[in-house]
């Protein structure tokens, strides 16, 4: 293809867009809406996942032992635990450490009155899980060990987090799929209108000896440009709005600051930027290519 032909084709693509202003606008608006929702959902999911992940890492099962259990036996059990797949980390907390931590958390300066460790015999393992959903089977296992006196677990947290995670995933995938379908449909309509307006021109082009490629290219370029603009707008909006929203939420719900751990916008855009542009260009290309094929059979 000659450079001059390429420029001509691109000019024609832009011309098409401005010739059917209303429909081009409608297509851009739909893709914008679609990708904006996609972006928002993505940002929310990413942040939630991040929070869930942080929370998951914090979920631990604590195991206490019978008072007469020997240090060697406790160590043996610890080694066994580390080997289990659902366990990511096992931390041994000696009785002294347990008392220190308790003093710090609850007693502060009033702890000075104790000369002996009142928590003698409360040495334990804090077990961190790699997968929260496996917590129940781990607990069952732990309870079957005869030396184990008591197992503390945070049942509610674990179940809620697991459920929430997959629910958000399903809903977002569903919404995005529906929106993509709507976008392709609209682009296809825009291009159909463009083809009908230009049908006579296309007939003449074909009589003169235009190749299929030459006839099709301006429409495909039109679709791609609409897709690109439709992707750029929501990306811009999300980029500028994201930090404001995060600040707002943190100020408004300052009690939750420790729980709400937001990702920086750059991390979100690492994936969102290429994916959004890809989807925009993709639906623009597919929508126009398929439509031209169907309506022209050039």
């Amino acid at each position: 293809m000659r450079i001059s032909t390429l420029f001509y084709t691109i000019r024609q693509g832009f011309r098409n867009i401005f010739r059917n202003k209303m429909y081009s606008l409608a297509s851009v608006a739909t893709i914008t809406a679609c990708l904006f929702l996609f972006g928002v959902i993505y940002a929310i999911v990413m942040n939630l996942q991040n929070m869930v992940h942080t929370a998951e890492e914090g979920v631990s099962v604590t195991v206490f032992f019978q008072e007469d259990t020997s240090e060697e036996r406790i160590k043996e059990i610890g080694d066994l635990l580390v080997k289990r797949v659902e366990v990511s980390k096992v931390v041994y907390v000696s009785a002294d450490e347990a008392w220190e931590s308790f003093k710090e958390d609850y007693l502060g300066e009033y702890a000075d009155g104790f000369t002996e460790n009142p928590l003698e015999g409360s040495q334990n393992y804090e077990i961190y899980l790699s997968d929260v959903s496996m917590q129940n089977s781990l607990v069952t296992y732990l309870q079957s060990i005869p030396e184990v006196r008591k197992v503390n677990q945070s049942q509610v947290t674990a179940d809620t987090l697991t459920g929430l995670n997959s629910l958000i995933g399903y809903i977002s995938v569903g919404i995005v799929v529906i929106l993509l379908g709507v976008s392709i449909f609209l682009i296809s309509n825009t291009v159909t209108i463009g083809i009908n307006v230009r049908r006579e021109e296309i007939t003449i082009m074909k009589y003169i000896g235009a190749t299929d490629f030459f006839v099709r290219s301006p429409f495909v370029i039109e679709g791609i440009i609409i897709g690109l603009v439709g992707a750029a707008i929501p990306l811009g909006i999300i980029y500028f709005v994201y930090n404001n929203v995060v600040d707002y939420v943190l100020n408004r719900f300052s009690i939750l600051t420790s729980l709400l751990d937001f990702l920086p916008v750059s991390v979100i855009f690492d994936t969102l930027l290429p994916v959004s542009l890809g989807i925009g260009v993709g639906i623009g290309f597919i929508g126009s290519f398929v439509t031209v094929r169907k309506h022209l059979r050039v």
């Binding site: 293809m1 000659r2 001059s4 001509y8 006579e200 074909k206 003169i208 000896g209 190749t211």
Partner: protein, 260 residues
């Protein structure tokens, strides 16, 4: 048994002869721009639009195809451009076998043909220059050449001063000259004109026809479909008359045959 064998022998001999004839045709068709060989075209409903048409048009000829509506003129043009495919028979145009031509070769084939329509078919949103340049862009002429060719061809049809006018601002005769310029700018071997004077007054019609005559003298083969009796009778060219899909006369220096 022997009889059957003999029959088979004859059949194969016949086939061979047919093949030989076909080969001869191919060789002789070098100088023929258009060859229709027992061509029929029928649409899904009704009687055939063209019925067993055979004709040859040599390089450099000027041919009128006449006949009233429903005679199959338009179908003929569409077959020659490979817009439609013949139902039966062979069509060769400019050496291309139009029954066998591949879809992606069709553009290449059409680039050798200029076409002029009754209703001009100019692009209304573009000026005269762009309308002609359009044809050059389609065949991907380098911009430098295009900038030479377009003014030259516009000058040759007498529109040197009207580059920037939009089709609406031009008279019918001028519009048809733009269309003619567009058809000529790619230097076609064959020029097809479908009722080129159908929308023009006599004065403009003669201007266009005289231009076509000039173009023909420079070597371009021209085929004009028309029912303009006066022009056909006065120009004394080859006239092929169609009626209900059949050629009823084909004469050198012919005249328009009236219905009755």
């Amino acid at each position: 048994m022997k009889v059957i064998v003999a029959e088979e022998f004859f059949v194969t001999e016949e086939k061979k002869e047919v093949k030989k004839k076909r080969k001869k045709k191919k060789v002789s068709s070098e100088s023929d721009i258009i060859v229709l060989d027992h061509v029929s075209k029928s649409y899904e409903s009704g009687s055939p639009a063209l019925d067993d048409i055979s004709l040859r048009i040599k390089k450099g000829e000027f041919v009128f195809i006449v006949g009233d509506s429903g005679s199959g003129k338009s179908t003929m043009i569409k077959l020659l451009l490979r817009e439609l495919k013949a139902t039966e028979g062979n069509i060769r145009v400019l050496g291309y076998d139009l029954n066998r031509i591949r879809h992606r070769k069709i553009p290449q084939f059409r680039r050798n043909i200029g076409i002029v329509f009754q209703d001009f078919r100019l692009l209304k949103d573009r000026n005269v220059y762009e309308n002609v340049a359009f044809a050059q862009r389609i065949v991907q002429t380098p911009t430098k050449l295009m900038k030479k060719n377009v003014p030259a061809v516009l000058a040759s049809v007498g529109l040197a001063g009207k580059y920037k006018a939009k089709p609406k601002q031009l008279s019918g005769g001028e519009q048809q000259r733009v269309a003619l310029a567009r058809a000529l700018v790619n230097e076609p071997t064959l020029l097809l004109c479908d009722e080129p004077t159908g929308n023009l007054d006599p004065k403009n019609s003669w201007e266009i026809m005289n231009m076509l005559d000039e173009i023909n003298k420079s070597g371009t083969t021209i085929l004009v479909v028309t029912h303009n009796k006066e022009i056909v009778n006065e120009m004394k060219k080859r006239v092929i008359t169609l009626k209900k899909g059949v050629i009823i006369s084909d004469e050198e220096e012919g005249a328009y045959i009236d219905e009755d």
